[in-house]
Symmetry: C2
Subunit: 441 residues, 2 copies
């Protein structure tokens, strides 16, 4: 066994919370294995953290509370940003890039919302800005799409990319109660934040979907155009009715290339129970990617947690270190997968998509109501694939419909008309069926 190279690459970590602390611990734990892989040593030379925990930083040469000091120190080769949020994360990353440092970030909000500007700086400076850990935790999905599937025109991808949401839906599916009760349970178990908005309203998933879409299709990051709908309107009854129709309900991020443009949407989705993706339960993440040559490939694993996320941060670090060791004069991989992006591909508004739909209509148990509903749908050219009519509860019968493919704009108008029927008592609940559900898996 030959001796490992003693070349040292200096790493500065900004932020020693869950992910930053996990990264530091992992670099220490697996340092021998990592050196052997890279052919050089990754040494954490600098850390900046809000409150210094002396035990954690005792072996580190430079430790302090100012992240900009790390970004400005010429001896730092690679800066890791694990602070989170926009401010001061954006300025720290920008500063480090401008100073010619490679940067690794786990910050999905930063990449999705301000990545275009940062990647432009990284490109100009010829440095790497890596972000594997920002999507699907420890699953190397960025690498898979950007590199592993690079020979393909990506047709679509769909993922369970928020563990909190998937945990809640999994629990509701196994009969644990209404959304609010299960959310409370998730909070008690530490799977949901005190303020769960980012997770349950789909914003976190939309950040991740924005990033994956950009890499899959070669388009700029466009978070503001990603349609986002949460899971708080899903009831245990919807889950049961979907089950009767052969589906489960998952909160998916879906990106789809169509002739009209690109769809980017996060919403509860009906998915055939037989699919592998439908069987990803609990806090797990999984992404299904369909390329024109390879067909559908699935990537699944832990989407969160200190160690799983650190696994992706350190993988980025190793990639960069391998660049340095190989003497690359510019980053090998365009960060978003393309050397030239398509600026001119339209992103479709949610009203411009076509889908199949599940509708739950609360109706009075009276002769003729179904005929009226059918007639409205027909007037908007929406045809019905399946109907289940359930037992009346307090005189209200939930009518469950599955439509054939229809334009969402027309469906919205039909729902408006249905809700105005005298026999319909309350809002219609609408859930989209996965667009790839009838396609090859």
């Amino acid at each position: 066994m030959s001796k490992v190279s003693t070349r040292i690459i200096n790493v500065g970590i900004c932020g020693l919370g869950t992910v930053g602390g996990g990264t530091l611990a992992l670099l220490n734990k697996n340092s021998a294995e990592i050196s052997r892989r890279v052919g050089a040593s990754l040494q954490v030379s600098h850390v900046a953290t809000r409150s210094l925990n002396y035990e954690q930083v005792s072996n580190i040469h430079h430790s302090g509370t100012d992240p900009f000091a790390v970004a400005d120190d010429p001896s730092v080769d690679i800066l890791i940003e694990t602070i989170g949020g926009y401010d001061p994360a954006f300025d720290i990353v920008k500063k480090a890039l401008l100073n010619g440092k490679h940067v690794v970030t786990a910050n999905k909000a930063l990449v999705a919302e301000r990545g275009n500007e940062l990647f432009e700086i990284a490109e100009k400076k010829g440095v790497v800005l890596a972000f594997e850990s920002s999507v699907a935790g420890g699953i190397p999905i960025i690498k898979a799409v950007r590199e592993g599937l690079a020979a393909n025109k990506i047709n679509w991808l769909a993922g369970i990319i928020n563990g909190t949401g998937n945990f809640i839906l999994t629990e509701m599916t196994s009969g644990a109660g209404q959304f609010e009760e299960v959310l409370k349970e998730a909070q008690e178990l530490g799977y949901a934040e005190a303020d769960p908005t980012f997770d349950v309203e789909g914003i976190d998933a939309a950040h991740k979907l924005t990033i994956m879409s950009s890499i899959a299709f070669g388009i700029p990051l466009q978070f503001d155009k990603t349609y986002t709908e949460g899971i708080s309107s899903i009831t245990p009854e919807d889950i049961r009715y979907a089950d009767e129709l052969g589906y489960c309900i998952k909160h998916l991020g879906i990106a789809l290339r169509t002739e009209k443009g690109i769809e980017m949407r996060v919403h509860p989705t009906l998915l055939s129970k037989s699919r592998l993706l439908a069987n990803v339960n609990g806090v797990g993440n999984a992404v299904l990617v369909h390329g024109d040559a390879v067909g559908a490939t699935l990537y699944s694993g832990p989407g969160a947690g200190a160690e799983a996320t650190a696994s992706a941060v350190v993988a980025d670090l190793i990639d960069i270190a391998r660049h340095v060791v190989a003497g690359a004069t510019s980053p090998i991989y365009p960060p978003l997968g393309y050397t030239q992006k398509y600026d001119d591909v339209p992103i479709l508004h949610i009203e411009d998509i076509d889908a199949e739909y599940y509708l739950r209509i609360p109706a009075i148990d009276r002769v003729g109501v179904m005929a009226k509903i059918s007639s409205i749908l027909q007037s908007f050219e929406i045809s019905i694939e399946a109907v289940i009519q359930k037992e009346a509860v307090n005189g209200v019968v939930p009518i469950i419909l599955l439509t054939h493919r229809a334009a969402e704009r027309k469906l919205n108008l039909a729902i408006q008309d249905i809700e105005m029927l005298e026999d319909v008592k309350g809002k219609v609940n609408r859930i989209r069926v996965a667009p790839f559900d009838r396609a090859e898996t």
Copy 2:
């Protein structure tokens, strides 16, 4: 939208069979998308094929029947070897590497059995020898383990890495008949070769497992030490009994790091039905990889077919082209993941492993036989976890046992003794339970 760089990288393809032909077709089909990703054009300038199909090669500058002419032509930057087999594939790849060309091969037998020598040459010459397509077809599993999980100490991996075998077991599980009948069906459908030995006896899977093990653990390729057992002894009854115990039977390639050394083994395996891996059916492939930081991640998709395999060949090509464009002076990734390999880690003989076992014992329906079997097992310190005793057929009762963890050497001795019992009529069928089945998934 800015103009794509016009830098041209010359590619020579040796062998235009299923994979080589698929590669040529894919490079043509997605050339615009690929140029945009690479920032250069990949141009197939040379092909060598046994019988020239003029339609296929009409646009190619140099076409002929001599692959060595491709390996020797200084204008070729990257050579693709899609001939298969050892001879002349080995000499072509070696020649190309010695001539300073990067090489992409889809040849798992070549990499598993003669890779150590070829990688040494590639390293000396500072060129890339890429082989993503040699394992699990279109699933980027080499990249995932070597790069995506590089921060981890890999504890184990297990995969369904032969589509033919998985198709046969899936069909048998859905009641399609005995092994021989289903094999015939697979041959008629084109899923199995006329001589199915490589697939059903596990040799193909052992090649792939050898390659994955090397990358996972940083050890040399050691195909000769990989234990290989096929699926021809599995019966529909075994599948049914396993099902009653909560398991399905899959043909897995398993690589496991233990305190005593490394296990590399391909054999039929009992797997809990609830696992995602257990639900990978038909010709699909899937690999489950467990890293110490990330936990378990799963990679699944099409493991064979012209287009899926070409997807991986062209991904390798794109990776190399990106190296060239970035001006890397040496390959960024050590081909087997480590700059220094561990030469001193023992590979365990199959008799030296510990496992849980499923045993099917054909016994005479007579009082006391179970007591005798238990007593033999006990004398070898093997304890029983579960027993199912089935109805007698022609006076023979299949006794189904599930053992607790035991040493395989002892189990073999116990089986010998059991088979010598007067009440036991025929061979004991033994199937190992997945070693990770009780561990965290």
